[in-house]
């Protein structure tokens, strides 16, 4: 069987813009899971995340003509998805405007409480499914303003600037939220990853 062609975002976008729907379908296949994960991080439920997923790709398809190509297609798509997700949140909380710009920081969430050494490869203690569940739950428990920055910067490895552009927030906001997200996750994972060491013998 021939190797699947490498993913070339710019070429697919160009083809999609000239009316090739199968190229747009390839873009959907490539990004649908990441957009769903992001939508779920922000809305924190499956039903809203599904609506956001659909609306985002429909809007992207309908507005392909307006996509300038100055930024990456994915950055543009994330921006659409974030707007859709925030609209969902606004509908839920009608008394309050919602944006990823809100300052909810109290500083308390980044206190370091857990000082325990971890194994060198702590993830190896768990099966693939278990580790995914642990990591997903940890990210899901963060406030959306942190989980969205963390997903784009540290999981998908977008640059600080791309993340700022996609989420429509400033570069300093990306940096400060990223640090908070990292420290909160470290705290949450310690329970699973700390070295058992001598304690193991207590159970034998």
């Amino acid at each position: 069987m021939p190797e699947p062609a490498p993913f070339d975002e710019a070429a697919l976008v160009a083809r999609a813009r000239s009316g090739d729907d199968s190229a747009f379908g390839d873009l959907v296949n490539h990004y649908e899971r990441r957009i769903f994960r992001l939508a779920k991080n922000i809305t924190q439920n499956d039903e809203d995340a599904e609506d956001v997923l659909q609306e985002s790709f429909m809007k992207a398809y309908g507005n392909l003509d307006t996509f300038q190509g100055n930024s990456k297609f994915y950055t543009w798509l994330v921006r659409i998805a974030v707007n859709e997700a925030l609209m969902k949140l606004r509908k839920r909380k009608t008394d309050k405007t919602v944006s990823l710009d809100e300052q909810l920081d109290t500083g308390e969430d980044t206190l370091v409480r857990e000082i325990a050494v971890w194994d060198d490869n702590p993830e190896q203690r768990y099966s693939q499914d278990e580790i995914r569940e642990i990591l997903d739950k940890a990210v899901a428990s963060l406030e959306p303003i942190y989980s969205s920055v963390f997903q784009l910067r540290d999981v998908e490895e977008l640059s600080t600037e791309e993340t700022a552009e996609a989420l429509n927030i400033s570069v300093p906001a990306v940096k400060s939220r990223l640090l908070r997200a990292r420290l909160q996750l470290r705290e949450k994972l310690t329970r699973f990853f700390q070295r058992k060491g001598d304690d193991v013998f207590a159970y034998l």
């Binding site: 899971r33 580790i131 994972l189 990853f193």
Partner: protein
């Protein structure tokens, strides 16, 4: 600290922080475990979409694509009929 973790902070700060981290056991633990946190998450592939969600997405898109094609062909036939009457 984020820049230290990413290796993007300047050399002088890097030296100072490295020195401190190596001398202060608590900071060493926080630094080391944060580094490991990043390592486990990096490049983590998202879960497959549940098939029902994927099917509904594809249906919605297929409809939208068909509607767009239909719109275009109406426009085309409109243009053609205008051309024919002029």
């Amino acid at each position: 600290m984020s820049e230290f973790l990413d290796g993007t902070c300047d050399q002088a700060m890097k030296r100072d922080l490295e020195k401190h981290v190596n001398e202060c056991p608590n900071c060493w633990v926080v630094f080391d475990t944060t580094k490991k946190t990043l390592k486990v998450f990096k490049g983590m592939e998202p879960k497959e979409l549940p098939s029902a969600i994927r099917d509904r997405l594809m249906n919605a898109l297929t409809k939208k694509m068909a509607a767009k094609k239909c719109e275009h062909s109406h426009q085309d036939s409109h243009e053609h009929s205008e051309a024919a009457t002029s």
